[in-house]
């Protein structure tokens, strides 16, 4: 049951991520990407990583993709307004993509599942265990990254704030 479910969800992930690339309309692309992220959430649930699943759901599906969709709807891209890319740029893109493909293929070939962590700790992904690890072993990185995120948020508010001292042009 477990492994066939995995294959189904994995097939769906790959299927929808291919649709992201092949659909002509950018808004449809983003919608397919949202579905792809949803299948990732299911993958996390299959791995019993409930916290990661929910966070993936909230952050990627709920926040980041909303912003993507938001920007694309405002831009209103279509084929007429899209400028044709120069040949050099296309060529560079193809070469860069091929390089990435070769690297990925190489690393996949080198993969081997000798020490599956999850088998030893099946409840590793539950929020209680995750919190214990974060607040004992990785306390400093965790605190620093949280301060970084808070700073980014405060910075965004500050940037959006109108400068009161300068007269409006």
């Amino acid at each position: 049951m477990g492994i066939s479910l995995f294959y189904l969800v994995a097939f769906l992930s790959i299927f929808f991520s291919l649709l992201v690339i092949f659909s002509k309309n950018p808004v449809h692309s983003v919608l397919y990407l949202i579905i792809t992220f949803f299948t990732f959430t299911i993958h996390y649930i299959i791995l019993n990583a409930q916290f990661l699943a929910v966070v993936n759901f909230i952050v990627y599906m709920g926040a980041i993709m909303v912003l993507f969709l938001f920007v694309l709807m405002l831009l209103n891209l279509n084929r007429q307004s899209e400028p044709a890319k120069p040949l050099l740029l296309k060529l560079t893109a193809v070469i860069a993509g091929m390089c990435l493909l070769v690297t990925l293929a190489g690393s996949v070939k080198a993969l081997h599942t000798s020490n599956p962590v999850l088998l030893h700790h099946p409840n590793l992904g539950l929020v209680q265990n995750l919190g214990r690890v974060l607040f004992s072993e990785f306390l400093l990185p965790f605190e620093i990254s949280s301060i970084l995120l808070l700073t980014a948020m405060v910075g965004a508010v500050l940037l959006a704030k109108k400068d009161e001292t300068q007269p409006e042009a």
């Binding site: 759901f57 709920g62 909303v66």
Partner: protein
Amino acid sequence: MELALVIQKFILVIVIFAVSLLVAMYSTWAERKVAAFLQDRVGPNRAGPGGILQPLADGIKMFTKEEIIPLDSNKFLFIAGPSLAILTACIGSAVIPWSTPLTIGSKTIPLQVTDINVGILYIFGVVSLGVYGILIGGWASNNKYSLMGAIRAASQNISYEIAMGLSIIALLMSTGSLSLKVIVEQQSGFWAHGWFTWNAFQQPLGFLIFLVCAFAETNRTPFDLPECETELIGGYHTEYSSMKLGFYLFAEYINMFVSSAVMASLYFGGYNFPFMHHLGLDANWLSILGIVAMLLKTFFFIFLFMWVRWTVPRFRYDQLMDLGWKVLIPLSIVNIVLTGIWITVKDIYFK
């Protein structure tokens, strides 16, 4: 998973689904009655005694109206929008504990569909998914006003989600759990150790921020900018007619019901009520009274939603953003710091 459990959960899901639809249906009636009361009018009084059949008449009207899909719209997404809106509205109630478990014979039946240990985050996920229904519907309509409404909805939801999340963090610091079941159990009774047990009395500022954010997340007045009819005709549902429009309106009322239930269980003790342990009743009666208490609290919050709608005028868009980013977020960060200090002081001096 045995068959009995599946059947038990299935019945529970159906009941909760039916109740939330019924409550949403009668919220539309209650809204008009409350509006009429606040404005010194009579309100709907033709369909049945006191207008009690009005929601049914509205439903029949919605279903029998002509269905119009604009020619320039994206047909699939045009239909997907309202479907997604009503779907996300309905699945939010899955983690709310409605009462303590009932015991029938040797079986205990928990009155909660599922107790996942990240219950609050699940609700957040559903809330953040809710914006897609509006965004997709608004874009697929291929109408300027719809798009403006959709974009307003998206930015409003994202802005207020941050403040909402931060206000919840302070609550989580004092409860120490993400599971709604555990949070409600901690608020058992009404008075213990010389202070109220309900979280609203331990996190008053956090509750206030959460309440304001809940109004913004459900697109209710004073934050109903996405469908602001003086500027945007009908906002994101300008092009919608018939039951697809009905789904959007209905989703708003279901959202109201679910967020009222969440507020009741997070901050107002859920199914707990004063003197519940001094009545000397057995567990089943307590459980049934718990459901009543929970529903009464939920209805109170729904009434509050309506009360505010007919009292406070709509915000301007920049005021909305100012309130979200420059008032609520700093306040909730202050609330987190204060809660941290209070927990530390309590640990050191009051143990």
